[in-house]
């Protein structure tokens, strides 16, 4: 399943892509951020030291969401005033990808969703209601976040970012949605809040003294 190895243009370490649609990855050796250009890799930046991590998930963790197996391929890390969280990029079997977010051990799986028109950030307030794809959502949190770093494979180019605002929404049935205002056009992700045990995660990080 792994794609043929290429070499890191910075340090020469072999770079493997586990997912054919990955656009970006990081060199596990020198932390260079690498962009796929046809068969070549181009270094666009380097990841500064990541903050001490508390997530039990890591690249290579596998699990199950709604009867589909997935493997964690990469992540984006965000910081905000009250902590940090990870958006883990998960690659699903048989194909497609989604995001598993871990914010203070509250887990949600979301998929990129199409709905139009999406509201402008300035017009959104906590408590506002939206219905996308027949699910009614209520805005619960608006977070001013800072891009903190990336690791592993991502489905799009994502580096050199500064701030990003996220609008989180919930439904009465346990649905979860995020509006991502990192770019000029908002992007909608919808999915579900998930229970840690229900994900049946394997190859988790080990924490000393905990099993």
């Amino acid at each position: 399943m792994s794609q043929p190895a290429a070499l890191c243009p910075n340090c020469g370490a072999p770079i493997l892509f586990h997912w054919s649609s990955s656009v970006q990855t990081t060199c596990p050796h020198c932390k260079s951020i690498l962009i796929r250009k046809d068969v070549n890799l181009e270094k666009v930046g380097v990841v500064s030291d990541l903050p001490p991590d508390s997530s039990p998930i890591q690249i290579g963790t596998s699990g199950t969401y709604e009867n589909r197996a997935f493997t964690v391929g990469g992540r984006i890390i965000y910081d905000y005033d009250d902590g940090s969280w990870n958006e883990w990029h998960i690659m699903l079997n048989p194909g497609g990808s989604a995001w598993l977010s871990d914010a203070q051990s509250q887990y949600a799986v979301t998929f990129s969703a199409q709905a139009a028109p999406l509201p402008a950030l300035a017009s959104i307030h906590i408590g506002d209601r939206f219905t996308w794809n027949k699910t009614g959502f209520v805005v619960t949190v608006i977070t001013e976040a800072r891009y903190r770093g990336v690791e592993g494979e991502l489905p799009f180019q994502y580096w050199d970012k500064q701030g990003a605002t996220f609008v989180d929404l919930r439904s009465t049935g346990g649905d979860f949605a995020t509006l991502d205002y990192s770019d000029s056009e908002p992007v909608l992700y919808t999915g579900k809040m998930v229970d840690f045990d229900a994900l049946r995660l394997k190859n988790l990080r080990a924490f000393e003294g905990w099993s």
Binding site: P51, P52, D53, S54, P56, Q58, G60, D82, G83, Q104, S105, Q106, H125, I126, G127, V138, T140, V141, R170, S171, T172, G173, G174, D175, M193, D195, F196, D197, N203, L204, R205, A206, F207, E208, G209, W210, S211
Partner: protein, 428 residues
Amino acid sequence: MSPAAPPQVQSLTCPNCGASLTVRSMGRAITIVCGHCHSILDAKDPQLRILQRFDAATAAEPPAIPLGSRGKWRGADYEVIGFQVRSMEADGIPYSWREYLLFNPYKGFRYFTEYNGHWNDCSVATALPEAQGISVKYLGKTYKHFQTYTATTTFVLGEFPWRVTVDDAVAVTDYVAPPYLLSSEMSGSETTWTLGEYINGADIWNAFGLPGAAPTPLGVYENQPSRMRASASQIWFVFAGLATAVFVIFTLSQLFSGREEVFREAYSFSPSSTEASFVTPEFELKGRTSSVEVQTDADVTNRWIYLNYALIDEDTGQAYDFGREVSYYTGVDSDGGWQEGSQRDRVVLPSIPPGHYYLRIEPESDASLGIIGYNVTVTRDVPVLGLYLAAIAALLLPALLVSWRVYNFEQMRWAESDHPLVSTGGGE
């Protein structure tokens, strides 16, 4: 699993007093409180900026579950990493409760709350509750509004994955569906929903290996399940079953009862007569021991007659004495016609053995009422309704008792709420 990460218990030093700080939540702490000098520190700041210092003497009670305690809870290990005391005021009286923050690096956070020995196991709600009038609906269950109040933090210890300082105040609303408790906490424009479940202190003592026994809870807590409530529905179920059985037996005994007339005779009584009493001819009660009905039909209209009866066993001489009054009055007054009493009287002697019997009858009346004719009929083996009613009443008693206790429990629960049930004192 991959190789273990380096030891996760970081050692830091309090910038105020230099005491060493133990950090247990692996980079998730936002607030750390120095256990020595009670400085509240910003865990996000590498310098551990001091956010606040507070006087710990005001709430210096030690946590019942010490920080660092580990226990197995709902299938996973949890460690107590934070402790806070919060309080509210109702009718000018302050109430405090304690919250224990628990952490597992995989499953995250949950917390126990304790008030007067009542414990709740709380975690963040996964779906959004929706308002339904004064109640809310959460994942298909309706929660009744219990109370709305301001909760103020008065004491903190350990670490928290959120910002906390002493005197922080949030608007809390509690909704209950025992044993569950759904709370919303509003600070600024953000609302956080928490789902709690009522648990026994003894289970915590067990899980965390605490010394001694969990203190006995005082009073009734807002989401405390009524153990009586389950038994009440059970007991009513059993009552319905037994009452049906009694009814069926009664019906069958009606159908199959012998109703055997063993004696009938007409008499007349002249109040002026000197004869005080007389005996009837002998009659036989056959078969098994059974009930005996004595029926008196007297020609009394606006008159009365009193009959002293004795049913006497000729062989043993045993007498069953009883007196019956037969009276019937009728007339017309401003409200129209009225009547009172009956010309017929029935009495059942529940358990008379077979044998040869006779009645001794001693009638009384008023001389002015003239001659009164009456018939006496003796029937054996008649169904005794009263016994069945007594049986039903005996069955009803425990059911009523339990229901009464359930009612009292709910009274006590809601007395502490914004919506006390209407009771004897004062009213709304």
